[in-house]
Amino acid sequence: MNIIEVRNVTKEYSSHTALDNVSISIPKGCIFGLLGPNGAGKTSLIRIINQITGPDSGEVLFDGVPLNSNHISRIGYLPEERGLYKKMKVGEQLLYLAQLKGLSQKEAMEKLKSWFIKFDIKTWWDKTIGDLSKGMQQKVQFVSTVLHEPDLIILDEPFSGFDPINANLIRDEILELKQKGSTIIFSTHRMETVEELCDHIALIHKSHKVLDGAKREIKEQFKTHTYFVEYKGHLDELDPIYQILDQKILEDGYLRSNIHLDGEANSNALLLNLLSKVEIRAFGENIPTMSDIFMKAVNEVPEA
């Protein structure tokens, strides 16, 4: 079951096309990475899902139903450009934002209390936002995003501006929210975050979706059938089942080579082959990183 189905969405601005016939499915309960270089159209897509703007053509389904104003309270949104009313008090502000998301004042109060205890920020209630540090403001904003327990949480670069300790705190909260059944959309450039947290990804580049699916499958798809080996001895460059791509001498005298495996042979066959020739210290498959995949997918797209 998908919580969000983007179907053939096109969005044009006067000077450029932000999204061109983009279709993306976001399964329920996953952490979904929305990737793409700057200006690819990620923010436009997020704004459409948030109903800040509408698509020129195509449609977006939320839980199988076309997006409508009832869904607003089921979405939590943390924009990349953070912002709160600088002169308003923390407590008042969070109450206001929660009420705009449809909570009653009483519900909002109760939920806020537990978050204030959880983040150990009880003393902040009567402070003005402008008096808090940037990291503290971010925390407040995070609380405002998830306070109404939305089914879908959209986080645009959620870790920017946090120190490692607080970033960890937020990361744990995100995982906990996932445990509780929320779906999370990450929009980010930080591939290590994607590597660590995301289950699914979609890559948007130049207004087009160039890639999407489960992270595991995508990695499979981008496998290059290359292996690395660290060894002592001599390997011929050519062999019936493999081909040595490069070779370099390590500081301790060992050699490290990347080897491409040809045809149907599997890693065991390669290993057996190598064992007879050299002394092996390390061996493994080169699994593409998200960063590799990102670069590859982006560079493959022909210039529009």
């Binding site: 006067s14 800040i52 703007t53 912002g83 600088k86 934002l97 009420q99 998301k101 904003q141």
Partner: protein, 439 residues
């Protein structure tokens, strides 16, 4: 609807809780009363008496200069040269020299003073001399003092406004004052509260909270909520001002009235004594100025004026604040607002300038058209209403004003929804127009 209410409540509470709101609420009526009190005080308390020496060579003015509250006349028989020489050492403020041939050459009258003489004193002296010469010339022509006395009448006309309800004494003085005050208040409030809307929107935009808010609230609701919230702040301020001012003025006028009743009785007697010969006030009663003002005000249709004031305040404010809001949405910070402010502030300032002319001619062509056109009508119509305006004109002007603010709100909403998400870009008029017609 719930959301728009939440927005209104936030906008309202944030502003009403501010210290500056409290200060303005208290200070406004205090300043008003202080001003009003000072004027009355100045009028009531005696000014220092000026002494004027009169050197009358013609001998015609021996008993003609009457001492008043502020002037004391002393006759002197010295020659002009010795009088001039003695003048610096005397405590007189001015020396009037009337030569013997004053009847033939009235221009030879001279006033000497250490400093420049006030216009008031000059005209007072000239009036006495002119009148006397006139009398003498008339007498030479055979018209006796008796005929002159009888022919002198004192016209103090009452203006009567004719309407279906019958005759009603009206006071164009009170109408002018009320009209002027209303126009000024609307002028000020459109500026003050319109700018507040603009600032609020720019603040939301620069602090980037707008993106969070409009993921919960439609941009139009946010804009309207802000406009209505600020309008209510304005209304609250007015209501508090009216209440406080009423309380303060009634207290102040009670104090002044008790002080006045003593002095005015004294004054009235002096005046009677001094002006007996040619005093011709019917019934001889001296009016109480406070009662006169109150009477004049009560001759106006106060409920209509208050009703219209609230309508035109709201209408004018809504019309302009929508435009101010559009400017706030189009720019990135307060400093950039300047370039778009002019077309908005010009009609407001023009209305206020026109108001001065309309006060003099409340039924003229300029008055008619400017009170019908929505951009000037909030100020101009309020100037005209105390003078009485045909119902159809008010109705037409109100309908057009409603259409007008619906129009500006529509335009503003179109600019707003694009503008609030547009960062770091200097916007031109051309671009704004594009936004309006943007699908």
């Amino acid at each position: 609807m719930r959301n728009i209410f939440l927005v209104i409540r936030r906008e309202y509470l944030v502003r009403v809780k501010k210290k500056s709101f409290l200060v303005m609420t208290v200070l406004g009526p205090l300043l008003f009363v202080a001003f009003y009190g000072t004027v009355f005080w100045a009028a009531v308390s005696s000014v220092d008496i000026k002494t004027v020496q009169v050197l009358d060579e013609s001998g015609l003015f021996r008993n003609k200069f009457k001492d008043s509250e502020t002037l004391k006349f002393e006759l002197t028989d010295k020659s002009i040269d010795s009088a001039k020489a003695a003048f610096p050492n005397s405590d007189a403020n001015a020396l009037v020299y009337i030569p013997a041939n004053v009847i033939k050459s009235p221009k030879s009258v001279r006033i000497y003073a250490a400093k420049n003489v006030s216009l008031e004193l000059k005209s007072e002296i000239e009036k006495v001399i002119e009148k006397e010469i006139e009398d003498i010339k008339l007498a030479e022509a055979g018209i006796t003092h008796k005929i002159l006395e009888d022919s002198r009448v004192n016209v103090n006309s009452e203006t009567i406004s004719l309407s279906e309800e019958g005759e009603k004494t009206s006071s164009s003085g009170a109408a002018t004052v009320i009209g002027g005050i209303c126009a000024f208040l609307i002028y000020m409030s459109v500026f003050i509260y319109g700018t507040q809307v603009m600032r609020g929107i720019t603040e939301e935009k620069t602090s980037r909270i707008v993106e969070v808010i409009i993921s919960s609230v439609k941009p139009f609701q946010l804009m309207l909520g802000k406009i209505i919230g600020v309008a209510l702040v304005g209304l609250t301020q007015f209501v508090l001002w009216i209440l406080l001012t009423t309380a303060l003025t009634s207290a102040t006028s009670a104090i002044i009235a008790s002080k006045m009743s003593k002095e005015s009785a004294q004054m009235a007697q002096e005046m009677k004594k001094a002006q007996m010969p040619n005093q011709n006030i019917p019934g001889g009663n001296v009016d109480n100025p406070v009662a006169e003002v109150l009477g004049a005000v009560s001759s106006l249709n106060i409920p209509l004026i208050i009703g219209c004031f609230l309508f035109y305040y709201l209408g004018g404010y809504l019309l302009y604040s929508a435009l101010f809001g559009a400017v706030g949405a189009a720019v990135d910070n307060d400093a950039d607002t300047q370039q778009f402010m002019l077309p908005i502030t010009l009609p407001i300032i023009f209305s206020f300038v026109f108001a001065q002319f309309v006060l003099r001619d409340p039924d003229g062509t300029l008055a008619f058209w400017t009170s019908i056109i929505p951009f000037t009508s909030p100020i101009i119509m309020m100037v005209r209403i105390p003078f009485g305006v045909p119902a159809w004109e008010i109705a037409l002007s109100m309908v057009l004003l409603i259409l007008g603010f619906m129009g500006t709100t529509w335009v503003a909403a179109r600019i707003y929804r694009v503008g609030i998400l547009m960062y770091g870009k200097k916007v031109s008029y051309k671009e704004l127009v594009k936004w309006i017609f943007y699908k």
